[in-house]
């Protein structure tokens, strides 16, 4: 007898539909699995057989064939255990075939019939909704993430028997209900700009970076507060929209980082890998591809503390995804695309000892300082539009008890500036000033005669290259947008010049 159960697999962070077909016929008693399967899917044979037996079903002494179609896409992971068992039970006549129609089934089986958590349930459910499926049977441990998607009933099961009883209508399980989160999107980590004392330059740099989604480089002595400032960035960036939140949560789901009771992520991610991270861990990959840090920071902030200590190879690997806003990984059994739309924030010391430009304390030679700075390649520095100095606080600042402007106030300006940019770039394929190409620079950053002459003088005096010129214009555009001014003026350019990193590139 033949039966079919609907399931889903994961490719990149997108789900795809998989039909699990079972056939039981007369012949030599064998249990055959086919359908371009990886090792862990093949091992399902033993798990399914044992689980069925331990749940009280007689395993048929017949010729059993299970096929996972389409047969030309590689199937990976342990999520197919449960659908295989269901398909088999349906073919055995233990489950009514009607109950299975329009139902997606996913989950790992344990030998005693319990259903275990798997990775990537969220994108599978998203894909199920797209294919018009109304009901998903998922492991109880994945119920919360499945329920992030509206319009699909999530049936959480903790063992095989429950699933069978539900489908046969003998013991119905109520769809899982999502716990509503407060969802204000701020202060989850306790970071807030109001706790940052002094650092006027860095605060301003942070705000401009957030407004134009410019990549940011912070230079300052150890212990000056670079990490603290960076952590404030998600609190001044606009909260994730519903669509973005699903996207970001999907990445975390695939990476297996969504906890059992997780809520939809509404705060932008802040990912801070250690500087010993490998290039694969950074951009994603591996023989069984997984999203890397850059994808985990999708729609959020990738913070590289001690940026000069990262291996050159790892840093250079960031360049292409910074341009493309996604990562493409090719393997012989498929191509995987992970999103990587990030804001890159780096932090580094101004010199190996950290004291420069305090010449009295700095023990570095000019050469060692330049060598240290040169660990960041020029093409990478070219992608860092804003460079700010974060200096050690004076005692007065440390002792002061007042609170500075809170993140929420800054965030309002950021949201307003984003809106201005979105209107300007409507239909042009980009969203923010930082993404402008040279043609757009000419169109949106035109300078009036007098300002242009003045700016030419500044460029000459400061020995700024053509690349630096473009970066300054983009940042000046953002500053003018914050001021809600159409025309870029001298004060905008002067500020943008001060946030330029030509000093480092020296």
């Amino acid at each position: 007898m033949f039966s079919k159960v609907l399931s889903f697999g994961i490719r990149g962070i997108e789900g795809f539909c998989v039909n699990v077909e079972a056939d039981i016929s007369d012949g030599m008693p064998v249990f055959e699995l086919v359908g371009y399967l990886s090792g862990e899917v093949r091992e399902a044979r033993e798990r399914v057989r044992t689980a069925l037996r331990n749940c009280g079903y007689d395993f048929p002494v017949k010729r059993i064939t299970l096929n996972l179609s389409p047969g030309n896409i590689r199937k990976q992971g342990t999520g197919y255990d449960l659908p295989m068992a269901m398909a088999l039970l349906a073919a055995m006549g233990e489950i009514e075939a009607d109950g299975l129609a329009g139902t997606m089934v996913i989950g790992e089986l344990k030998l005693n019939g319990e259903v275990g958590r798997i990775d990537g349930v969220l994108p599978m459910v998203i894909c199920a909704r797209k294919s018009g499926i109304k009901r998903c049977i998922v492991p109880a441990g994945n119920a919360a993430e499945g329920a992030m998607v509206d319009g699909v009933d999530i049936i959480a099961v903790s063992d095989l028997k429950q699933a069978v009883d539900h489908l046969n209508g003998t013991a119905l399980i109520k769809p899982y209900e999502r716990k509503e989160s407060p969802g204000n999107g701020t202060g989850k980590e306790g970071a807030d700009l109001k706790y940052v004392r002094g650092q006027a330059m860095a605060r301003r740099g942070l705000e401009i970076a957030a407004c134009g989604m410019h990549n940011l480089l912070m230079v300052g002595a150890p212990g000056a507060g670079k990490s603290m400032l960076a952590k404030c960035l998600p609190t001044i960036l606009p909260p994730l929209t519903g669509e973005e939140a699903l996207e970001v949560s999907s990445v975390y789901s695939v990476a297996g980082l969504l906890g059992e009771d997780s809520e939809l992520m509404d705060l932008r991610p802040f990912v801070s890998p250690h500087h010993t991270v490998t290039d694969i861990a950074m951009i994603g990959g591996g023989s069984y591809p997984r999203p890397g840090n850059i994808s985990l920071a999708h729609r959020g902030v990738l913070f590289l503390d001690e940026m000069a200590e990262f291996s050159r190879y790892t840093l250079e690997a960031l360049r292409q995804p910074l341009e493309d806003r996604k990562i493409t990984i090719n393997r012989n059994y498929g191509t995987y695309v992970y999103p990587a739309d990030i804001m890159l924030v780096g932090a580094m010391n101004p010199c190996p000892c950290g004291a420069y430009p305090d010449i009295a304390r700095c023990s570095c030679t000019e050469t060692s300082r330049r060598k240290y700075m040169s660990r960041l390649s020029r093409p990478l520095l070219d992608r860092m539009d804003i460079c700010v100095d974060v200096h050690r606080l004076g005692y007065e600042d440390m002792m002061s008890t007042g609170e500075a402007e809170p993140s929420s106030a800054v965030r309002e300006r950021v949201i307003r500036t984003h809106r201005i940019q979105n209107e300007r770039f409507a239909g042009s394929g980009i969203l923010f000033n930082s993404q402008m190409d040279s043609k757009m620079l000419g169109r949106y950053c035109a300078l009036s005669g007098e300002v242009r002459d003045w700016f030419a003088g500044v460029l000459k005096q400061m020995d700024i290259s053509a690349r630096g010129y473009g970066k300054i214009l983009k940042v000046a555009r953002t500053i003018a947008d914050i001021d809600e001014r159409e025309e870029i003026g001298r004060e905008h350019l002067a500020e943008a010049v001060s946030f330029n990193n030509s000093q480092i590139m020296g």
Partner: protein, 368 residues
């Protein structure tokens, strides 16, 4: 051209760690041709050649075609000036460990013209930068050759200023003259070849090595009539040059700094030992002419008029780097106004950004 020069070139360009004794050995041998042709035992009989050294010489001459190599060198446009050449600077002739030969791109200092070395810290302060600019520029304008090491900081700044003032300057390198070290001084390197020259005792393709620099310093001091020290720590390469200068009987002058300043320790200690403090190029000139007296001249400051914001910020700037945040706090001014003023001051050549968000005063002016 005699054949001798071919062997002299081989001998001078031969890579080695210590070039100070290159000449002594050549004189002991009688001729470099002998060094090129002698067997090992004969080499070892020459004073100053150890067995290791002899092996090295034999290794270095095997496969060397004297004529071909010399032709190749001539085609690079660089010049080879052995000790007996008419072009060889007279100032070098009587010093201890005089270079056996010099390699030069551009010209060599004029024996008849006054020349002054301006040297100091690589990692200099804004004050050091100001002084290097002032002395370099004034000496250059007065037609005095400015000699220095083309390094970061004081060296490079003073030489650039001398060229900017229309003067001539010579860079003495610790590497071959075809190598620009440090590479970020490329612009200066190219200009020096036009108005002055770059000079070295190492073969033209020699890469810089730490051990070359102290030896190179003896040439800097020897080529100069006086050495002016601007900002030097007590333990520094600059002090080596000063020692050499004293040994060679050159005048040593210092530009005073603040006594609390770590970059002043070298200058202050030299002052105590009898070095002459100078405040302007005229002081240096009179020192060289032997008529040094305490000059009564007050330094003359350029007058500039600045808008109020810039005036306020300029008054707060120091020779030492100060952060924009501090400036903003001290001036009680909004950050963006401070930034605009700073950019304007940089544009006027009064301030400079030395590190991200850190500015120094680079020119002392009378604000009216």
């Amino acid at each position: 051209m005699t054949d001798e020069v071919l062997y002299d070139y081989w001998w001078a360009a031969m890579p080695r760690a210590n070039h100070v004794r290159v000449g002594a050995i050549a004189f002991a041998a009688g001729s470099t041709r002998r060094l090129f042709e002698a067997g090992k035992s004969e080499l070892m009989s020459i004073e100053g050649i150890s067995e290791k050294h002899a092996d090295d010489i034999i290794k270095r001459r095997s496969g060397w075609d004297p004529e071909g190599e010399y032709d190749k060198f001539i085609n690079t446009g660089a010049r080879f000036v052995p000790w007996y050449s008419d072009e060889y600077p007279k100032r070098l002739k009587d010093i201890h460990g005089k270079p056996f030969a010099l390699f030069a791109a551009g010209s060599l200092p004029d024996d008849g013209a006054m020349s002054v070395a301006v040297i100091g810290a690589r990692n200099c302060s804004g004050y050091g930068r100001m002084m290097a600019q002032k002395f370099g520029s004034d000496l250059g304008a007065a037609g005095i050759s400015v000699i220095s090491g083309m390094a970061y900081g004081i060296d490079g700044i003073s030489q650039t200023a001398a060229l900017d003032a229309g003067g001539v300057s010579f860079g003495i390198l610790g590497c071959g003259v075809n190598t620009c070290y440090p590479s970020s001084n490329r612009k200066l390197y190219d200009r020096l070849k036009e108005s002055g020259g770059v000079i070295s005792e190492y073969g033209i393709y020699t890469e810089p090595r730490a051990c070359f620099f102290p030896a190179r310093n003896r040439i800097i001091s020897a080529l100069s009539d006086a050495v002016v020290v601007i900002e030097a720590r007590k333990e520094s390469g600059t002090m080596i040059t000063v020692d050499m200068a004293l040994e060679q009987g050159r005048e040593v002058a210092i530009v005073p700094g603040r006594i609390t300043d770590p970059l002043s320790t070298g200058c202050i200690s030299l002052w105590k030992q009898g070095a002459v403090p100078v405040t302007c190029a005229e002081d240096v000139i009179s020192l060289v002419k032997g008529s040094y007296s305490v000059s009564e001249n007050e330094p003359v400051l350029m007058k500039v008029s600045l808008p109020d914001d810039e005036k306020k910020i300029y008054a707060l700037l120091e020779p030492y780097a100060i952060s924009v945040g501090e400036l903003s706090d001290m001036a009680g001014m909004e950050l963006r106004k401070v930034l605009l003023s700073l950019v304007e001051l940089c544009l006027k050549g009064l301030a400079a950004e030395v590190s991200t968000g850190h500015y120094v005063k680079v020119r002392e002016c009378l604000v009216v």
